[in-house]
């Protein structure tokens, strides 16, 4: 896939990532402005993560598939009871598991701001950057993400189930046209015991590209992430 894109020799669309970043910054600013500056109830969590990722691509030559492990970390800053700042970073190697695929490295970072209008619902907006790199080529993905998350408290507040839906209104991929449709969904659980926090979640991202040269390009990344860490502070 990456090789195919590079062969086409399309120049990277530098304007699109910059626009996405600007939009993300605006969205963060809006979300952050929903709550007054907080001097109290500051809390934070930090976790390490390990994920199993599966990347599928159909660029007109059959489905390429690569799987592998990612490692990284996440941190959340809780600004009061209603605002959160979330940062995610992970990287790893995906090994080709189909004949026409290449091994590749994946590195990603995501930043999002969340407001919690009611305890069971969180609204968030953010920005993600992802890079696939192989021996031959490097491809950069930038996306603006807006979504909602249902938070289902089980057994008091000790366990929380989550169902998340995200749309990506602006996605830019270096060497490719922007996807015509991009969204993500996920489900997961988080257990808390004192300051300890454990989590397991499944996420799926889907990207549908516009038809180019008679080819409907499709990409999909699914990931099972387990994370464990500490949650400190007043919440």
């Amino acid at each position: 896939m990456i090789r195919a894109a590079a062969r086409r020799g399309q120049p990277a669309q530098l304007a699109a990532p910059a626009r996405a970043m600007r939009l993300g910054a605006v969205a963060l600013g809006l979300l952050g402005g929903l709550e007054a500056p907080l001097s109290a109830q500051l809390a934070a969590s930090g976790t390490g993560l390990v994920a199993v990722a599966e990347h599928r691509v159909d660029a007109g030559r059959g489905v390429e598939q690569a799987t592998g492990m990612l490692f990284g970390g996440e941190g959340t800053l809780f600004l009061g009871a209603r605002t959160e700042i979330f940062l995610h970073a992970a990287s790893g190697n995906l090994t080709a598991s189909s004949a026409n695929a290449d091994d590749r490295d994946l590195a990603e970072v995501e930043l999002r701001a969340t407001v919690v209008p009611v305890p069971w619902l969180a609204l968030h907006a953010g920005f993600s950057a992802r890079e696939y790199s192989s021996v031959m080529v490097r491809q950069r993905w930038n996306a603006l993400r807006v979504g909602a998350e249902a938070r289902l408290a089980l057994v008091g507040a000790g366990v929380t189930g989550t169902l998340r839906a995200v749309v990506m209104p602006s996605v830019s991929v270096s060497g490719l046209e922007d996807p015509s449709r991009a969204f993500a969904a996920g489900a997961g659980l988080e257990w808390r015991a004192g300051v300890l926090a454990l989590g397991l979640r499944y996420e799926l991202e889907r990207y549908d590209f516009p038809t180019a040269a008679g080819v409907d390009r499709r990409e999909q990344l699914s990931m099972l992430t387990a994370h464990a860490g500490l949650r400190l502070g007043g919440r």
């Binding site: 799987t67 089980l154 969204f183 996920g186 489900a187 997961g188 397991l200």
Partner: protein, 351 residues
């Protein structure tokens, strides 16, 4: 003439009764003056007119008693047993109307006093003198009741509160006047609450087979700063639920299953058909864990329905209420300590 007589009768009937304070008082004053000038016969005439039913003037009870007293005193000065017996009878008439009637030894002769003592011995009555409104500090102040038995008797003075609590103020032998004091406390040492009290004066003669009882009603009101109400016992709406309802267990199961269903749904439905469904292993892991978590949550919620945080909070609220009530009780006690009792005779009082 007949017409004039009829007119005169009518006018006489329509005329208002002549005031007692003027003519009767003048007659008594004249009788006393005659008595003091030792014109006893003339004094007796006037006094007999005073007690006569034919007297055209009103005679107050006090004036009648005064007349009986001086009739007795005047007759006691005269020689002869019959006169003395009459004196005793008049003294008894006075005593029956007012047991507090007495002769001043400085003003009356031994013969008069002797006749009066005999009258007292032959007449038995227990009495309590009306009290004027008074204010006292319970426990340290006192109000005095003047009680009396006309001769030697067993006297009991009891106070009964509106709630039926009794306090015996005096119980013993008595002859004559006795002052009985009350400090505003009930028999159990508590302050007398406001209300209408009953003072029973019971005399049992030791000379005659007679028991006499007189009751005086007292209105007791307390003067103190207003008291605070204690906080009521918290009702169901004031406390947090201490147990999860049964629906919570079902809800937990459904939430766990919802997470599981979401993972499977996203993996199978949201994917592009060209790429095929995502890895069932990845979503299945979350689905399995979600299901297990839901079942465990269901089980835990059913077996452990208590909510420790709410139980603790309710206990804190109850403790805070108790603390507040203790403060209120203390402040009320402080206010009650400076309470003054106002004691006044109620209408329909003593004999």
């Amino acid at each position: 003439m007949k017409r004039l007589a009829t007119l005169a009768l009518l006018l006489g009937a329509l005329a208002p009764p002549l005031p007692a304070q003027t003519n009767t008082a003048e007659m008594l004053q004249r009788a006393r003056r005659l008595y003091e000038n030792l014109e006893v016969e003339r004094a007796l005439v006037v006094l007999r007119q005073v007690i006569s039913p034919a007297l055209p003037y009103l005679v107050s009870p006090e004036q009648r008693i005064e007349a009986y007293k001086y009739l007795g005193a005047s007759l006691a000065l005269q020689p002869g047993a019959e006169k003395r017996d009459s004196a005793v009878l008049y003294f008894r008439a006075a005593l029956e109307r007012d047991p507090f009637v007495d002769l001043d030894p400085q003003s009356f002769s031994p013969a008069q006093l002797s006749a009066f003592v005999e009258a007292r011995d032959r007449t038995f009555a227990a009495a309590v003198r009306p009290v004027l409104a008074d204010t006292l500090v319970p426990g340290s102040g006192q109000i005095t009741f003047q009680t009396l038995t006309t001769h030697r008797a067993r006297l009991s003075v009891e106070l009964r509160s509106p709630t039926g609590l009794r306090r015996v103020l005096f119980d013993g032998d008595n002859d004559g006047l006795r002052e009985v004091r009350w400090d505003g406390l009930l028999g159990d040492g508590s302050m007398a609450p406001a209300g209408r009290y009953e003072l029973d004066v019971i005399g049992a003669s030791k000379l005659l087979q007679i028991t006499d009882t007189v009751t005086m009603y007292l209105d007791v009101t307390d003067l103190h700063p207003p008291l605070e109400d204690t906080l009521p016992t918290p009702g169901p709406g004031d406390l947090l639920p201490e147990q999860y309802p049964l629906s919570v267990a079902t809800g937990n199961l459904l939430k766990g299953l919802g997470v599981a269903a979401g993972a499977l749904l996203f993996q199978s439905v949201f994917t592009n058909s060209t790429l095929g469904a995502g890895s069932a292993l990845l979503s299945g892991a979350v689905a399995g864990v979600g299901t297990i978590t839901g079942v465990i949550s269901f089980s835990i919620s059913q077996r452990h329905r208590s909510i420790p945080a709410n139980i603790g909070e309710n206990a804190r609220r109850r403790e805070a209420r108790e603390t507040d009530n203790a403060g209120i009780r203390q402040r009320n006690a402080d206010r009650l300590r400076i309470t003054r009792l106002v004691i006044a005779q109620a209408t329909g009082g003593a004999r």
